[in-house]
């Protein structure tokens, strides 16, 4: 016999599932961003100093300057990549909760979505 789904309980469970993923992943985002921003700033300073004092030669100057831009761009792309993984995890966690609620309401044993 089918049972009613408790909407408020289901909403709370979906929120909890999403929060669990987000809280954990935000720590990774923050740590990665801080490391990258500091490292790119230090690299910028190093390249500027090297060019000013002649220790970075004509041979490598353009390469290092172009690379600063590449680093910043791929930093943004990496953050986007991490975000996609988190969206996937949140999505699947929420779907998992819905799945469980349906299984409970219908009495049908459902496999966990992958």
């Amino acid at each position: 016999m089918a049972r009613q789904i408790d909407i408020s309980k289901l909403v709370d469970e979906m929120k909890a599932a999403a929060s669990e993923v987000l809280n954990k992943d935000v720590t990774t985002f923050r740590g990665f961003s801080e490391r990258q921003v500091k490292a790119i700033a230090q690299q910028t300073k190093l390249v500027a100093m090297g060019i000013a004092n002649g220790q970075i030669t004509e041979e490598t100057r353009e390469f290092f300057l172009d690379s600063l831009e590449d680093m910043a761009l791929n930093f943004a792309k990496t953050l986007r990549g991490l975000l996609m993984v988190t969206i996937e995890k949140v999505w699947n966690a929420v779907v998992g909760v819905i799945w469980k609620a349906i299984a409970s309401a219908t009495g049908i044993a459902l496999p966990t979505p992958e």
């Binding site: 090297g50 996937e88 999505w91």
Partner: protein, 168 residues
């Protein structure tokens, strides 16, 4: 009677929701590859050992003593790029929806055709190739070694963070 009708409706709704859910479990990023992560870790060690050995700068007349190490490191990096790109990248409606949402919010869409780790590894390979070519031509100053190292560390952090994060 009403109770029976309500129960029937709930069952139909649940079934409809079930069909929706069946289509919803999704994958938005490539699979985790432990062999690739292990390769990143061991290559990172080789890179840092090499930078430690050249930190005082180099001269072109001693390049021959470093030639094999350059080849070894660049070869490893290129192999890792191939390994990273060999994995299928999931593309689906959800990715498109996320991109459209970001576009609406004024966030520029960065082309998603390549994994950021593959790009980072390719840039590390280019960095080491540039260092090798400069080393052959005129040697590398200590300052330049520090700049090459700084660049490699930044790109390696991007590659390692992304690849490790795929373990979910």
């Amino acid at each position: 009677m009403r109770s029976s009708a309500t129960t029937g409706l709930a069952t139909i709704l649940s079934a409809a929701l079930l069909l929706l859910v069946t289509a919803c479990a999704t994958k938005l990023a490539p699979n985790y590859d432990k062999a690739l992560v292990d390769g990143l870790i061991s290559t990172n060690v080789k890179l840092m050992e090499f930078f430690a050995s050249t930190s005082s700068g180099t001269t072109s007349d001693t390049f021959a003593t470093r030639k094999k190490t350059y080849s070894n490191i660049i070869g490893r990096l290129d192999a890792l790029v191939i390994q990273s790109r060999a994995r299928p990248i999931p593309t689906n409606d959800i990715t498109e929806k996320v991109n459209k949402y970001l576009e609406k919010k004024g966030v520029q869409i960065l082309d998603g055709g390549d994994t950021p780790s593959a790009t980072a590894l390719e840039k590390i390979s280019e960095t080491m190739s540039k260092m090798r070519d400069t080393d052959i031509k005129q040697g590398v100053t200590a300052f330049e070694v520090a700049a090459f190292k700084g660049q490699v560390v930044i790109f390696m952090d991007q590659a390692m963070t992304y690849e490790s994060f795929l373990e979910r």
